[in-house]
Every structure is written in structure tokens, then in C-alpha cells.
């Protein structure tokens, strides 16, 4: 079907809902009987909605910069762990007979794969932690980004980010950051730092990882 100026106007009015009543019914009837018209309307609808999606996408890029950029975590490059060097490193580790370290690594990876525990739902009058919803959001995002770095880039890069989250006023996410910081310390071979942090977590009543920390210290 050839697109004419009048047809373009009619299709626009049909799609935006300004074509009403008998005129709309007649147009819909034509679409049923004329394949060319129906396909033209579909094409115009695709273009119209696609243009809106592209425009909206720009809006969410701005939201991304505002929300994620605000926590200073967005631009950290993610480097995937190369399989070959990992395999060589693992073989060397086995050859050197440090099985205990291998075992600790397995436990650490299990914790990492599981991701942080969800935030508990607080009762309406429960103001124990006192942080604003915005603070919770910022901390949870910062923790998510730090864990992405820990998983894909390594403990050395993740430690400063985790230390930053863990130093924020106490809430579920900053407490969780302490636990992952202990894991990162351990991965980096900073056994004493890891032990001190685990002892503090294990001694903190209500800490989301109190039980896990106690188990790791045994």
C-alpha cells in the first residue's frame, strides 16, 4: 500500500486515539479487510512505539548516571577471570600442598555465589537502624557493585569499595559489606585482618552474618 499524507494522518489519529466513533469503527473494519492497510498501521505503530522507547532509554541513561553514579560505583571496569591462568594457579596451589587454602577458597566462593542475604522486612515501628530509605538504596547499590568487582575483578580491587560501604552507618547492607570484606581479606591473604573482622561480626548480636562468622572462626 502506498503511504499518502492523508493516510499517515489517519493512522496517527487511529493510533493516538483521537479518531473516535463511527470513523474509528470504519477504519478498523478496513484494516480487517485490507492487508496492506493493516500492515501499514502495524509498521507505523512499530515506528511510533520504537521512537518512544528510544527516547525513554535516554531518560533512563540519565537516571542511571544519577542513581548509580551517585554512589560512585558505575564505571569500575569488570575484568573476567582468565581460565588458563586460573587453572595454572590452581595446579600450583595443589602442588605446593596448600590444601587448606583451597578449602577456604571453595567456602568463600560458595558465599560469593550466594550473594548477600535479602534485607529483612522491618515492622512499621521498628527504627532500630534508623537509616533513610535513600541511604539503604545507596548502600545496597554500593555493595552490589563491590561484589561484582569481587567476583569478576578480584579481592584487591574490591577491598577499598567494601571498606567504604562497611564504614557507613550501620544497616543491613553495611553489615553485609563487613562479611564480604572479611572474605576479600582472606582471599588476599590478609588472615589477621579477616580474623579480627570475623570476631567482631560473630560478637555482634543481630548481625546478618553472625552465625557464618562464628562458623568460619571454628
Amino acid at each position: 500500500m502506498d503511504l499518502t499524507n492523508e493516510l499517515l494522518t489517519d493512522i496517527a489519529r487511529y493510533l493516538d486515539g483521537t479518531m473516535q466513533g463511527p470513523e474509528r469503527d470504519a477504519f478498523a473494519g478496513r484494516m480487517e479487510s485490507e492487508d496492506g492497510l493493516r500492515l501499514e498501521v502495524q509498521l507505523q505503530q512499530e515506528i511510533r512505539e520504537g521512537m518512544k522507547i528510544l527516547a525513554e532509554k535516554e531518560r533512563f541513561k540519565a537516571i542511571h548516571a544519577e542513581v548509580i553514579g551517585a554512589t560512585a560505583i558505575a564505571a569500575r571496569p569488570v575484568r573476567r577471570l582468565p581460565w588458563r591462568p586460573l587453572a595454572i594457579a590452581a595446579s600450583l596451589a595443589l602442588l605446593l600442598g596448600i590444601g587448606w587454602w583451597w578449602w577456604a577458597g571453595q567456602a568463600t566462593d560458595r558465599y560469593l555465589a550466594a550473594g548477600p542475604k535479602p534485607e529483612p522486612v522491618l515492622l512499621p515501628d521498628d527504627e532500630r537502624l534508623g537509616a533513610s530509605p535513600e541511604r539503604h538504596t545507596a548502600d545496597s547499590l554500593a555493595l552490589a557493585a563491590a561484589l561484582t568487582t569481587l567476583r569478576h575483578t578480584g579481592a584487591e580491587s574490591a577491598i577499598p569499595a567494601l571498606e567504604k560501604v562497611a564504614s557507613q552507618p550501620l544497616n543491613h547492607w553495611t553489615a553485609s559489606a563487613e562479611w564480604y570484606l572479611a572474605i576479600a581479606y582472606r582471599k588476599e591473604g590478609r588472615k589477621e585482618d579477616a580474623r579480627r573482622l570475623l570476631e567482631r561480626i560473630a560478637a555482634t548480636e543481630g548481625h546478618p552474618y553472625q552465625a557464618e562468622a562464628a562458623k568460619e572462626l571454628r
Partner: protein, 199 residues
Amino acid sequence: MYPSGHLSSSQADEALYQALVSDEKKAWNTLYADVYRRFIPYALQRSTVSEDDAGDILQEAFAVFSVNLRNGRYQFVGKPVGAYVFRLCQLKWYTFMRDTDKPLPLDSLRKTGEDDDEDFEWDLADVANTPGGDLNALEKAMLELQDGCRKLMQFFYVEEKSLAECGALLGIQEGSAKVKRFRCAQQLRDLYFRYRKDD
């Protein structure tokens, strides 16, 4: 959750939905942060997608959700709003991986024991009927238009402005705007048709 604290989970979701319908910035920011926190690690752990591409997928899913919300294709039915967007992200992620020759098994869209239940409350069929056609083709077609045409197409398709308004914005008469709009729309249509994947 929005707002948190004094409402049940379902009430908070409905409040979030209403705030999104009212286009409250804080609600969009909260939802974005929530889905970002769940989807980015999810995609990075399960595929070779880069963090930048995962972010692009997330933003496209949000754009689709926003359009669905405005045109009524998305209606609140008591399920978490974030779960709907998460599922949209999954679909976009799957399509991206397939189109870049890094196919994922279909199982990657199904729930595993480790997944958050909330993220799977929507069936894929509920979110699969997403609008927009081939966005890459449309983006490519738009880039080939001249500036004046591109602006006019934005006014016409996105902002749904009248011919008189389009003319005023471009500094031309309404009659001229009508002729120009038709020529630009025809050019865009032909370019889109040429680049669209399934044609």
C-alpha cells in the same frame, strides 16, 4: 520497596505503581536502583555480557516498561512491579546474547533453586509481547535523517504534537510542516523497512 516501613509488601508495590503512573522521579529512581541491584549481578554471573551491555539492556527494559505503563499495556495486578521489569530485562538479555551469537540455553530464563522467588512471579508470556519492533534498525534509520527531519519525527511520533505545533517549533507554516512531515515519515519508514532484521 516504595515507600518502605509502614505498608505491607503488596500495598508498597501498589503505592510504587501509582507513583510511577504519576511519573514521580523518586519512584523511578527507587525502582531503577532495585532492579539494577538484582539484574546486573544476575546477568554477569550467567553470561559473558559486559557490564556496559548489561546496563544498556537494563535501560532498554526500563524504557519498554515505561511505554507499557503509559499506554496501559502494563497493569498492576498485585505482583511486584520490579519483578515485571526484571523479567523484561531477562528477555532483552536473552535476545542480546542470541543476536550477538552468544546463545544462552532456554533454561537460563527459568528459575533455579538459588534465584529470588520474587523475580519469577511473572510468566515470560506475560512480558513477551513487548512493543518497539527492531530498535537497532530504527536507531540506524533515524541517524540517516537530516537534523530537521529527525526533530520533526520526534515531535510527531514521540511528543505527538499537532502540525501547527510542529510548524511553530520549526519556524515554518502549518502547510509546509504537513508536507515536510510526510516526506520525513516516508523516508524514515523506507529506511526502517530496509534495516529491519526480518525483512
